[in-house]
Amino acid sequence: MAEAEFRVEDLSNGTKRVILTGAWSLRGVQNNFSELREHLSAFFGNPFTHWDLNGVEQLDSAAAVMLWTGWGKHVDQRMSLRPEHAALFNMLAALPAAHSLEAGRGSLMAPFILLWDKYLEFFGHLTGFLNLVGSLMFEFFYILRHPRNIPFKEISANFYKGGVQALPVTALVSFMIGIAMGYLMALQLRKFGADIFIVNIVGLAGVRELGPILMAIIVAGRSGSAMTAQIGVMRVTEEIDALSTMGISRTLRLILPKVIGLTLAAPLLAFWTSAWAIFGGMLAAKIQLGISMEFFLNYLPQVVVPVTLSLAIFKGLTFGILVTLIACHFGMRVMPNTESLSGSTTSSVVTAITTVILVDAVFAIVTRGIGL
């Protein structure tokens, strides 16, 4: 296939004639239409140039568009065309003109409209969330009356995936943070000769804050994102609709097991996380301050009173429920496209972590008189 080429002839009356030859087509891979357009731009600008397309082997839509826009979107006597070319240019002329749909919103009102949309979106999330909690309550009372329908398998699977499989990573992270915190505190406390208080700090911080919070953050990142993506993809591939047509409640089969499984696992995980954080701090205290582990462990129960443990369990439960509910909520809002899937997964994790930290702050204030 010959390359797209042109040559210029001077006519007797002083005007020029551009003669196109070769294949003016994208199929000729060596053709570059932006270069051709540049070479031809001088002739496009001149209203007296004649164009001869009779020697063109092949003219495709891409080349036709390039010529046609160059000619100012019309064909007249100056162009000598073959009939099939003329048909192509006629088709181009009949096409609707450029983006008439993009002009829309007035610029002055745009920020307010955006705000209003955000406001509506917020209420959409709120009602969606309430809906979810409501239907969960219904299902919960339903399985209380019909214990045969309790999805034990799914619950245990979720407990295993969200809880048991999270053991190594939560242990590692909290152990490292325990060590880091232990060292930092040890250095400060030594200045005041208050070495012994390392037990108070590590013990209380580990059980009351670090355990539940670290657990919640890791679970939100691990299981929360997985849940959102799973429910989202099941929505996209209509698997959820398939469940519904079989008469199986999606809330009962998909969401309830996740909520129960993770809610049961969360307090245990929080304990596990606390234990490793305290172990890390203990190690730091031994190395930095020479406080023996036996002493540390003996003194610990005097600082961390049982009510603190109850508080930690309660926090763990709350955070577990929050993370799962938020994950499921965002999963149910996934629209059937990739952008929405990634957006919802991100929102799920970000919202879950933010909410958990907000709730934790409220907890800290409300429970400031308990166990301290």
Binding site: R27, N32, L95, N337
Partner: protein, 263 residues
Amino acid sequence: MSKHSLACEITGVWTQYGSTVIHRDLNLAVRTGEVMALVGGSGSGKTTLLRHIVGLTTPSRGEINLFGVNLAKLDREGARLARNRFGMLFQQGALFSALTVYDNIAFPLRELRQFDEESIHLLVMHKLALVELEPKHAWLLPAQLSGGMVKRVALARALALEPELLVLDEPTAGLDPDRSEKFVHLINNLKKQLGLTVVFVTHDLDTLVGMTDRVAVLADQHIIAACTLSELAHVDHPFAQNFFKGVHERLDRTDKWKTAPTH
């Protein structure tokens, strides 16, 4: 026949996954300008062969040449240019779900970096007109389209770079008879207008009879016949015979005994 007039040439292709052999010494030649159907039982490796042809997968052994070049042996830039010479229509459409119909069709054009937005707009509208969609459909998202529209948009995207070879995987699967007839009509029209070579896989006999110049039968891990539909009667193989029965009825009905295109 000179080598140049072959759009696609498959020689001695073997495909093996572990101990499973899918293609055993498979040979096939697709002439330029013809519509070639690939038929075979479920799981006979038709889609795998299509994926080999467009270079998504490479066969374990053997060679596949498109327009006389082997995609696997080209460098990155060369392969990109060569890939612009064919378009593929996937079974599910494979439209980019986050982009509108307009942006889906404009995508390959923008990637070419040869056109300004004004030209792209015209080209997109031209492709929409080619596949008989209305301009207002351009602003819909793939999730908002019906099955037939998804196929047509996917076809418009495959046609965006004016390919010479169009590879279709089950183009009419999931369409109602009326829609699939229209789709066949559309492909036939496009073939006439643009001078396309078409390779397609189908299970739908009406589509087959409506479009095909030649049919390649994939059975027993290789092509047992590549001939016109009427010549299929002389192929001595249970699958081909069985298959021909269905084709025969339709050929009688449409009275459309096709002969091999003369090239």
